[in-house]
């Protein structure tokens, strides 16, 4: 047993000041669906908990056709998939948020927490990577921006310094004929950790693909951008051959391990299958809009 202090700051400034005061012993949290479990298991032992749900900037979900999406770090997954705008413009990210845990978990869990927890298997992270999302980070020292594909540095570790917090993620505005998709594989349909997760986003000009990004989860120490696979789609007509090629490159980009959830071989196989399917779904959506 050890005592902890709990603060619920009402402004970003307050939160940043608390973080500066308490340093590495403090931890910001949103839904608590990761941190509380980790504290119970003794994996993390923070002395100060800073509840971010009362900070207005972190609760903002705003969309602008030109500027894109600002998704506050503490916005819950339910708020995301109940938003018609989210479903319309970012169906893949919305799907990812809707896959996290169960409804009860989604009522608390946030995309910010999912990202900051730094799990290689976080569901919403590959979806954010596919969309080219950028994280806005703040501390009492100032602000900086980090692309989501560079945010997680190792299992459970991120670029955040002890005095920093994630304010929001920014996702560029979708252009015409662009769309995203996210698929994951788990042994059952709910309440599970991804064996493999694949996010894909494509932009079309006529038949041709002019931009594409593929994010992979649970197949490397961190979620990652499958760069070569993404580039292989650009310029193609997104026919079966092009997608197959991208799937092969995604498999090469992954470096999974054997664990209880699946062998490395199985995971590599699934990266191929899910990349094909996620890209296919994104293309289908992009053609329809």
């Amino acid at each position: 047993m050890h005592a902890i202090t709990y603060d619920a700051p009402r402004s970003l400034e307050q939160a940043l000041a608390l973080l500066r005061q308490n340093g590495p012993a403090a931890r910001v949290f949103c839904g608590g669906t990761d941190i509380i479990i980790q504290m119970r298991a003794g994996v993390r032992r923070p002395e100060h908990l800073i509840d971010a749900k009362g900070i207005p900037e972190l609760r903002k979900l705003s969309f602008d056709a030109k500027k894109g999406l600002c998704l506050g770090a503490a916005v819950s997954c339910i708020e995301i998939f109940e938003s018609a705008l989210m479903r319309q413009h970012y169906p893949g990210l919305t799907e990812a948020a809707h896959l996290i845990g169960s409804l009860q978990i989604q009522a608390r869990a946030s995309v910010g927490g999912n990202l900051c927890n730094g799990s290689p298997a976080a569901d919403s992270t590959p979806a954010l990577i596919a969309l080219g999302a950028v994280a806005r980070i703040a501390s009492a020292r100032g602000e900086r921006k980090v692309p989501v594909d560079q945010f997680v540095t190792a299992p459970g570790r991120t670029v955040l310094e002890p005095d920093e917090l994630l304010v929001e993620v920014h996702v560029p505005a979708p252009v015409n004929h662009s769309a995203d998709a996210y698929l994951r594989f788990i042994p059952r349909n709910e309440m599970d950790i991804a064996v493999v997760g694949v996010g894909a986003a494509v932009t079309l000009e006529g038949e041709r693909c002019v931009a594409a990004r593929i994010g992979l989860g649970a197949v490397a120490p961190t979620p990652l951008l499958a760069d070569a696979a993404s580039k292989a789609l650009v310029g193609s007509k997104l026919d079966a051959r092009a997608i197959e090629r991208a799937a092969e490159l995604a498999v090469s980009a992954s470096s999974p391990i054997d664990d209880m959830r699946g062998t490395a071989e199985f995971r590599r196989h699934l990266v191929g299958v899910l990349t094909r399917r996620a890209v296919g779904l994104a293309v289908e959506r992009a053609r329809a809009c």
């Binding site: 042994p187 309440m191 599970d192 209880m260 699946g262 199985f266 196989h269 299958v273």
Partner: protein
């Protein structure tokens, strides 16, 4: 049979209201004044001798009231299985409450009781144990090899039990076969996943008499085993019957470590002591035994069996306990007796390893047998181009055949043929395509399996208790109290027994109340296990209710001036048979029977109408007459994603001959729950252990996968073929286990039908499917 008014009705469970408003009756909610919280210190090693235990620091921690080590524990070897007598020669007595040798990772070595749970946890960390670590073995095959670490002195090659049964001459039978099939099937370790943890509170008084509250399937078994392990006469141990428990599925059918430890901690501290296991502790407390079954089967061209041989290697873990009984049940009910065949032989052994102890689990050896037998029949039919249903009909036992298990009985009701035919028709079995013929990446397939023979209790089994008793007492408000030891573990036993009593008495189901009870106040009942309660306890409550009704009519006859034989009870009222002219509510008869003999009136004392005073009640204690067999067939359709290996059951249909359905709601619930557990066994559940250290890697519900509501097929149909079993209460037989026995082979066969590849090792995970398809 005359018309029934309560039996067969969809009545509400008597516990429903209580459960949805907090479930006060669950043993996990028992709290006593002054109660201490106990915790077990468990070994990190799978095999070790304890050299020294130092508890001095723990004892000094404020709040710690008692510490227990092996030296303070009676060293009486016992077997923990509730339904078998302590000294039964078929059982292996290798359990000690705490011993100086640990044989699996997690075996308790010491215990503490403290005023707060957190203090008890802290105290555990202060206990210093020096272990002499011994070599361990986790694989039963390796354990049997010469030179393997020897886990018990009494078991050379680590074989705990060795058995063989058969009749005829199998070698002769194989000579007569046109074809001989040989295959090996392997099942995994799965957990019962009851919701309420194993939990108990034990209190002691100044004379050392113990009172026990526990989430258990059997109060008398707990009393008997606990007293034996502690070296006490059973009269010193009283076990309180739980109103209901939060699931058991066979996983609460043996004496755990917690009850004797709490008893000793309570005796030591003079205070009540409670231990509630964590989910992790529950996972390493009980599991279905993994079994490897080698089958050799001889058939004629037309599919008639000529010889059947099986060899089963059952892994019992660190102690024999249930393994000694699961093994023969598996051999007999899971293989030997299932179908007709002149020459049959089964050999099996239960093997010790340094894994957790295997336990009871709904089906008790049956699922491991059925997975092998029913999968192989499908393989045979595929090879010989025979229809799997016709094949079973050809080889199955028939109604009125001698009971294959006990020649003193016949299969007086046995409608497997109807289950197969009507099930096939309703499921549209005839539309089944040939294996793997679908196109596209997602392929559908239909499968089928049956459990031809099973039990309604344990009549005829050596070494297993099988009798029940009840007291039915009528109250002045017209209700009846049913006192019985049977524990409702969530299957609706309370509802079924109330319905039988109500029907027999002539009252409504909600007029029957289940009484508070304990081992002192009610007659013995065998456990809630073996698909036995509706049949066996049902017969006992029917007899008790019948004798209460007889007494009621004798008393009422004085009010009618008629013979009791001319009276009947309808809707809670006594009347002359068939006449509505005069009806007297039961309440009135009971009240008059209990009223003082005289009343003081204006004209002096007057006699009340009934001379014969007393409480109207009936009792029973009896063993059932027979062990009639239910029959079960299951059809299932699955969809297999041939790229990811995912399997989704789409719809299932069960056809059961369970005799008369007493409680349709309860019966359907059993079937659906059975499918869910069977599907988990088939596709995903696996209690995995580290192969180096033997520690459990799947000790929570994130890592141990059970199907959630979302995985359940959209449609599960229960088709009940209601034969009318003459020896059963209102014609009932049994249901509970077979509906969990058949899903694994049915699903395996459906997967084969979808994709044309066979997986003979459970669970059939996506990875195994992809590997079988050559994609990995």
């Amino acid at each position: 049979m005359s018309e029934l008014s309560v039996v067969g009705q969809r009545v509400r469970s008597p516990d429903a209201y209580d459960k949805v408003t907090g479930g006060k009756g669950f043993p996990v909610n028992v709290r006593l004044p002054g109660m201490l919280h106990g915790k077990l210190l468990r070994s990190p090693y799978a095999h070790a001798r304890i050299v020294r235990i130092d508890t001095a620091k723990a004892e000094k921690l404020p709040g710690v009231k008692a510490v227990l080590t092996p030296s303070a524990v009676p060293q009486i070897k016992y077997h923990s299985v509730f339904f078998a007598p302590n000294l039964d020669p078929g059982m292996v007595r290798d359990m000690l409450i705490l011993s100086d040798t640990v044989r699996f990772a997690g075996e308790p070595v010491a215990a503490v009781a403290a005023t707060e749970l957190e203090i008890a946890e802290e105290a555990l960390e202060l206990i210093d144990v020096e272990y002499d670590v011994l070599p361990a073995v986790f694989d039963p095959g390796e354990a049997m090899r010469p030179g393997a670490p020897q886990i018990w002195e009494h078991a050379p090659n680590n074989v705990a039990v060795n058995l063989s049964f058969g009749f005829g001459d199998v070698e002769q039978g194989f000579k007569q076969a046109d074809y001989v099939f040989e295959n090996t099937y392997q099942t995994q370790r799965v957990h019962t996943c009851y919701m309420e943890p194993r939990v108990c509170v034990v209190d002691s008084d100044r004379q050392g008499d113990l009172t026990v509250w526990s989430s258990t399937q059997h109060i008398f078994g707990l009393q008997e085993k606990l007293a034996f392990a502690l070296g006490l006469p059973i009269s010193k141990v009283r076990v309180v019957k739980p109103r209901y428990i939060g699931g058991g599925f066979g996983g609460k059918l043996d004496l755990g470590y917690i009850e004797p430890v709490c008893a000793l901690l309570s005796l030591k501290s003079g205070r009540p002591v409670r231990i509630e296991q964590t989910r992790y502790e529950d996972f390493i407390t009980t599991a279905r035994h993994p079994v490897k079954v080698q089958l050799r089967t001889g058939v004629k061209k037309d599919g008639t069996f000529t010889a059947r041989y099986a060899k089963s290697i059952l892994e019992t873990g660190a102690h024999a306990t249930h393994g000694a009984v699961v093994l023969p049940v598996h051999g007999l009910m899971g293989f030997l007796l299932t179908y007709r065949c002149p020459d049959v032989k089964w050999e099996g052994c239960a093997v010790y390893t340094n894994n957790m102890i295997g336990g009871g689990f709904r089906g008790y050896g049956g699922p491991q047998g059925a997975f092998a037998v029913e999968s192989q029949i499908d393989e045979i039919c595929e090879e010989l181009k025979l229809d799997p249903i016709a094949f079973r009909l050809k080889n199955a036992h028939r109604e009125a055949d001698p009971h294959p298990f006990n020649p003193n009985f016949t299969l007086s009701t046995y409608r497997l043929d109807e289950c197969l035919k009507r099930g096939a028709q309703e499921f549209e079995w005839s539309k089944r395509q040939s294996a793997g013929s679908g196109s596209g990446t997602k392929k559908r397939g239909i499968g089928f399996a049956c459990q031809p023979l099973w039990v309604s209790g344990c009549v005829g089994f050596p070494g297993i208790y099988e009798h029940s008793g009840a007291i039915v007492k009528l109250n002045v408000d017209g209700t009846a109290d049913l006192s019985i030891a049977t524990v409702d573990m969530g299957c609706g036993q309370n509802a079924v027994l109330s319905q039988i009593v109500a029907e027999e008495l002539g009252v409504s189901a909600d007029a029957v109340r289940i009484a508070y009870a304990d081992t002192q106040t009610v007659p013995f009942d065998a456990p809630t296990h073996a698909s036995r309660v509706t049949y066996s306890a049902g017969n006992a409550v029917k007899v008790a209710a019948g004798s209460a009704r007889k007494r009621l009519l004798e008393v009422a006859s004085q009010l009618f001036g008629a013979s009791p034989d001319d009276l009947e009870v309808v809707n809670g009222r006594v009347r002359l048979k068939g006449s509505r002219a005069k009806e007297i509510p039961i309440a009135e008869v009971v009240e008059l029977a209990g009223a003082p003999a005289l009343t003081l009136g204006l004209e002096g004392n007057q006699r009340t109408p009934i001379a014969d005073k007393g409480t109207i009640l009936g009792t029973s204690s009896l063993a059932p007459a027979s062990n009639p067999s239910p029959a079960t067939a299951e059809f299932v359709e699955v969809e297999v994603d041939t790229e990811t290996g995912e399997v989704r059951p789409l719809r299932a249909l069960f056809a059961h001959d369970i005799g008369r359905v007493i409680s349709p709601l309860g019966a359907e619930g059993q079937v659906e729950g059975g499918f869910q557990q069977g599907m988990g066994f088939a596709l995903m559940e696996n209690l995995v252990f580290d192969s180096e250290t033997g520690s459990c890697l799947a000790g929570d519900f994130l890592n141990y996968k059970i199907p959630t509501a979302i995985e359940m097929p959209g449609e599960i149909k229960s088709l009940f073929i209601e034969s009318n079993e003459p020896s059963g209460p209102f014609g009932a037989k049994a249901l509970a286990e077979p509906c969990l026995i058949v899903p694994a082979p049915a699903i395996a066969n459906a997967i084969y039908n979808a994709i044309g590849v066979r997986v003979r090792e459970l669970p059939i995970t996506p990875e195994k499917i992809l590997a079988a398809l050559g994609k990995l």
